[in-house]
């Protein structure tokens, strides 16, 4: 009998997602599911879906889910974890959800040191509503509400969430990763594994910001979108570990060029 070397993770539902071709939301889902399988926590995990393109994430995992209102996932996670500390609780949020409307909720969830895991998908745009400017949109990047490109005089500069959260005194694990090539995806999975492990051990709050593509609203084909991310986002959003609960210095991702 042939040995199975690759299959769908048990935590990933056997369904087709609604994500656009080339969108990296699906890859991030898979990495999370693999980590849940490897840590053997599927039966006690509860996910929280955001308002954004990942709003239907609850259909794509074989774990119990709650759907939060826009930006409030870290508050919902707090409620779940405080009610049931034995559960493994993670949120999955876009950049409009987390870095704009939900800024208060994420900062205070991290600052209280809630023992939950946040997966923050930064694609520099509002995907679901049709490509409006996000707080993470790059200077000069065209979006439907900045048709001439983001003007930093009017809209300010993009917000670096990993850096921002790592300034909090409360111990936590904060990292930024990317998934636009297999090698980076392997590193992203390692970051997610560490984030979930800290929660399983009851150590601290953990957040992994994952740079992601939106070929549809960036208006570029998928392969080019991967390149665009590397050329435009990675220099401004450096990859690496920004904060660990033991207070170790920032560790850049090897080969990420910063």
């Amino acid at each position: 009998m042939a040995e199975t070397v690759f299959s769908r993770p048990g935590a990933l539902a056997p369904v087709i997602t609604h994500y656009c071709p080339g969108c990296t939301h699906g890859i991030i889902h898979r990495l999370i599911a693999e980590v849940i399988d490897e840590l053997g926590i599927r039966e006690r995990t509860v996910g929280i879906a955001p308002v954004g393109c990942a709003v239907l994430a609850y259909n794509y995992f074989t774990v119990d889910f709650q759907e939060a209102s826009h930006g409030r996932a870290p508050a919902v996670a707090t409620g779940i974890k405080r009610a049931r500390p034995d559960l493994i609780v993670f949120t999955y949020q876009g950049d409009g959800d987390l870095a704009s409307i939900g800024m208060a909720e994420i900062v205070h969830c991290a600052n209280r040191g809630e023992k939950v895991t946040v997966v923050f998908v930064n694609n520099a745009i509002y995907g679901m509503t049709g490509g409006q400017m996000a707080p993470t949109t790059m200077p000069g990047q065209i979006a439907t509400t900045c048709p001439l490109g983001r003007d930093v005089e009017q809209a300010g500069h993009p917000i670096r969430i990993a850096e921002l959260l790592s300034t909090l005194r409360t111990p936590s694990f904060v990292a930024r990763a990317a998934v636009h090539t297999p090698l980076y995806a392997v590193n992203a999975k390692e970051m997610l594994r560490r984030a979930f492990r800290y929660q399983v051990a009851g150590t601290c709050f953990s957040m992994v910001e994952v740079l992601s593509t939106c070929p549809t609203n960036w208006g570029v084909p998928p392969v080019e979108a991967n390149r665009w991310l590397a050329q435009n986002m990675m220099p401004f959003y450096p990859l690496g570990v920004f904060k660990t609960p033991d207070g170790a210095d920032r560790a850049p991702t090897p080969g990420a060029g910063d």
Binding site: E43, V55, E67, R72, T78, G79, I80, A83, R84
Partner: protein, 362 residues
């Protein structure tokens, strides 16, 4: 259990604990700070958890998350904070989560003032947020009744899988009165296990999803009618009202709720001593509203007086109840000013002397 002298807000907190509430999320706002303060000390003593949230938006969404695990949960706030909870209220109703929300109403609009008001009646009884939904609303007039209704609120929330609001004002919160907690209180409804809770999927059932998103309009329409059926069941089974001095004949019927009804009861006692025939009907559930009880009671009187701490909100429900069958008079104070028994007495005497203008004609 023996009677104990308690402040209203402490009685509300203790009643929640007695009802099995183990999680409380809140944000400071006058005049209800004593409730979160009480819970912050009390909940850890019973293995529960208190979280001071960064805002009422966050507190109410924490409530949502915790309720989704099937635990009994509560928050309290006052008017401006309740406005910030309207988002979560809509999601809670949509996702059918049982929670108890206490609103110790203060005068508005805007920042308003911190003194008692009934200006949030529309907000409480007309759904509180976007979409087609209702809260079940309970309005106590004494500290004992506040304690009893808070406990009932948890049973009703669980039974209907719907948010229940306890609507009070600063008077209820600050009043000291003797309270008794029964040591063998039984749930007022037959409650089912919460098999819908999202607490980890063992694999022998489909995943439990706490959700209010229905992208298919036919499915959402079915969901809307399912919610409506619950509100209809509440209207059939949960209406509560009390009458005061209505055993004897009366000419004027007062309709008032909460602490205002308490003031009116003092006025009625005095008027009765002078031989003036007046009685009161007091809604205890504001949604569902006791239309029939008010109509029946009003038909025994020649005119009706609505007393409330707003420029005229509950009076609209009294109008619906009477459909013009009796003239309706109105007395109110707003802005945090209170109605006094003397004002009520004067108003009743004026009505009987034919000198008071009707606001609605019979």
């Amino acid at each position: 259990m023996a009677k104990k002298l308690m402040k209203g807000s402490e009685a509300i907190g203790e009643a929640a604990v007695q009802a099995g509430c183990r999680l409380f999320f809140g944000y400071p706002i006058t005049p209800q700070n004593e409730i979160p303060e009480y819970m912050s000390l009390r909940l850890p003593q019973v293995g529960g958890c208190f979280v001071q949230a960064e805002s009422e938006v966050a507190a109410s969404n924490m409530l949502y998350g915790a309720a989704g695990t099937g635990e009994r949960v509560m928050t309290s706030s006052s008017s401006p904070g309740i406005s910030l909870m309207s988002e979560a209220a809509s999601y809670l109703a949509g996702a059918e989560l049982p929670v108890v929300i206490v609103n110790i109403v203060r005068a508005g609009p805007g920042l308003g003032g911190i003194l008692p008001s009934q200006g949030d009646y529309f907000q409480a009884t007309r759904g509180m947020g976007h979409g087609d939904f209702r809260l079940l609303v309970l309005a106590p007039w004494s500290v004992q009744e506040a304690a009893d209704l808070v406990q009932d609120a948890f049973d009703l929330a669980d039974f209907y899988r719907n948010p229940v609001m306890v609507l009070g004002d600063g008077l209820i919160g600050q009043m000291m009165e003797p309270v008794e907690f029964s040591s063998d209180r039984q749930p007022i409804k037959e409650l089912q296990p919460k098999t819908w809770a999202a607490t980890g999927c063992p694999g022998d059932r489909p995943t439990n999803i706490i959700n209010s998103l229905f992208l298919d309009p036919e499915e959402l329409e079915r969901h809307n009618w399912k919610l409506k059926a619950k509100y209809d069941a509440m209207t059939r089974d949960e209406i509560r009202s009390a009458s005061y001095a209505a055993d004897d004949d009366y000419d004027v019927l007062i309709v008032a709720y909460g602490t205002v009804a308490r003031v009116c009861s003092t006025a009625i006692d005095e008027l009765r001593e002078r031989g003036v025939r007046v009685a009161m009907v007091r809604p205890i559930t504001l949604f569902p509203y006791p239309y029939q009880a008010i109509r029946d009671a009003a038909l025994r009187a020649s005119s009706v007086l609505v007393v409330e701490l707003s420029t005229g909100q509950m009076i609209e429900d009294v109008r619906l109840a009477l459909e013009g069958a009796r003239p309706i008079h109105f007395h109110s104070r707003v802005g945090g000013m209170l109605v006094t028994p003397d004002e009520v007495i004067e108003k009743v005497e004026c009505i009987l002397a034919g000198g008071a203008a009707e606001v609605s004609h019979g």
